[in-house]
């Protein structure tokens, strides 16, 4: 009971609390996404390379439509440009003539991204694609396929739960690298040490409890992670 209470307190951040299932995995994936974005940005610095990101969130699914998501990618890509591509500026001016103006259409956004990503190498990092649901995900994957067909130098980094793997392989045939993600033991211990160091309830922690947490949690998680490692080995064999 004591260790569970401590863990509940240590894990009291939004990423853990939002979901009951697989939160450790989601937390790690989300951190991986932001880490990859930052590493790519560091590499792109000084080079003619663009990096964009998007974080899907099931709670925001109504706002995060395919068009608003792709529109935000276009927005990120042109924000740093001195000149806005004429195609985009023209589409913006044209829509003003419609009744009260209207948002960009999916086909228009795909064409915009095809144009922009052809100008320079582009990385797109999409977190938690499984939280983009239903027809929105279908439209997004088909849009990404169209972009890649016109811009083969574009690289797309996606995280999500494994149940969408088959769908991704179907929608993006012959393009996909599958990489199971599982926190390493040192990742788990490092994370726990930091969170315990930030714990404001000092009276609840002692050396014995800290040692028990650092021993118990990585061991139990590691057992589950064996399955992911096996899965990863199998995916290597298949390729």
């Amino acid at each position: 009971m004591e260790i569970r209470g401590s863990v509940r307190r240590l894990s009291g951040n939004k990423d853990y609390l939002q979901r009951g299932e697989g939160s450790q995995s989601i937390l790690t994936r989300r951190y991986d996404s932001s880490l990859v974005v930052d590493r790519l940005c560091a590499q792109a610095n000084g080079h003619n390379t663009a990096v964009t990101c998007f974080y899907f969130d099931f709670a925001s699914r109504k706002e995060q439509s395919t068009t608003s998501m792709l529109g935000s990618l276009v927005k990120q890509l042109i924000t740093g440009m001195e000149r806005i591509p004429e195609e985009i500026s023209r589409a913006f001016q044209e829509q003003k003539k419609a009744i009260g103006g209207c948002g960009p259409q999916l086909n228009d956004l795909v064409k915009m991204l095809q144009t922009i990503t052809s100008l320079r190498p582009t990385f797109m990092c999409i977190d938690a694609l499984d939280e983009c649901v239903g027809v929105q995900r279908v439209r997004l994957l088909d849009s990404l396929k169209q972009i890649l067909e016109r811009s083969p130098a574009t690289r797309i980094f996606v995280t999500g739960r494994p149940h969408i793997l088959a769908e991704m392989e179907k929608r993006l045939p012959r393009r996909l690298i599958s990489l199971p993600v599982c926190p390493t033991r040192s990742d788990i211990i490092g994370y726990l040490r930091v969170r315990m160091g930030e714990d404001e309830t000092l009276d609840a922690m002692n050396a014995n409890l800290e040692a028990e947490i650092l021993e118990t949690i990585p061991n139990n998680l590691s057992e589950v992670c064996v399955q992911a490692i096996i899965l990863r080995t199998k995916s290597h064999d298949i390729r």
């Binding site: 863990v7 989601i26 990101c53 706002e63 996606v158 998680l221």
Partner: protein, 99 residues
């Protein structure tokens, strides 16, 4: 001429900025409207939030994998085969500890 960024758009009444961008295809007012028209979403804010809570060095292993290096690399004749990498985590990992 300095690079024009979205932050410049926040002050559309700044005549200096207007002069700086007089040769661009769009004027500052139009530019900020255009960006808002494209999407109301700002994923950079979410990225900033996650980055602040990230623990140093966790997840570094991912970028050392052969799969990631193949994806991020320049690619070869079969460049299209490595254009998408899907990193997936198994549901249920760790759920015992959050209940």
């Amino acid at each position: 001429m300095s690079r024009y960024t979205i932050s410049d758009n926040t002050n559309c009444l700044n005549t200096t900025n207007s002069i700086n961008v007089r040769n661009y295809f769009t004027i500052p007012d139009d530019r900020s409207q255009l960006l808002a028209w494209l999407s109301p979403l700002e994923p950079s804010l979410r990225h900033r939030d996650i980055r602040e809570r990230r623990v140093n060095d966790i997840g570094e292993w991912l970028m050392q994998t052969e799969e990631f290096r193949r994806w991020v690399g320049p690619g070869g004749e079969d460049e299209g085969d490595t254009s998408v990498i899907f990193c997936h985590g198994d549901p249920g990992v760790g759920k015992t500890f959050i209940r």
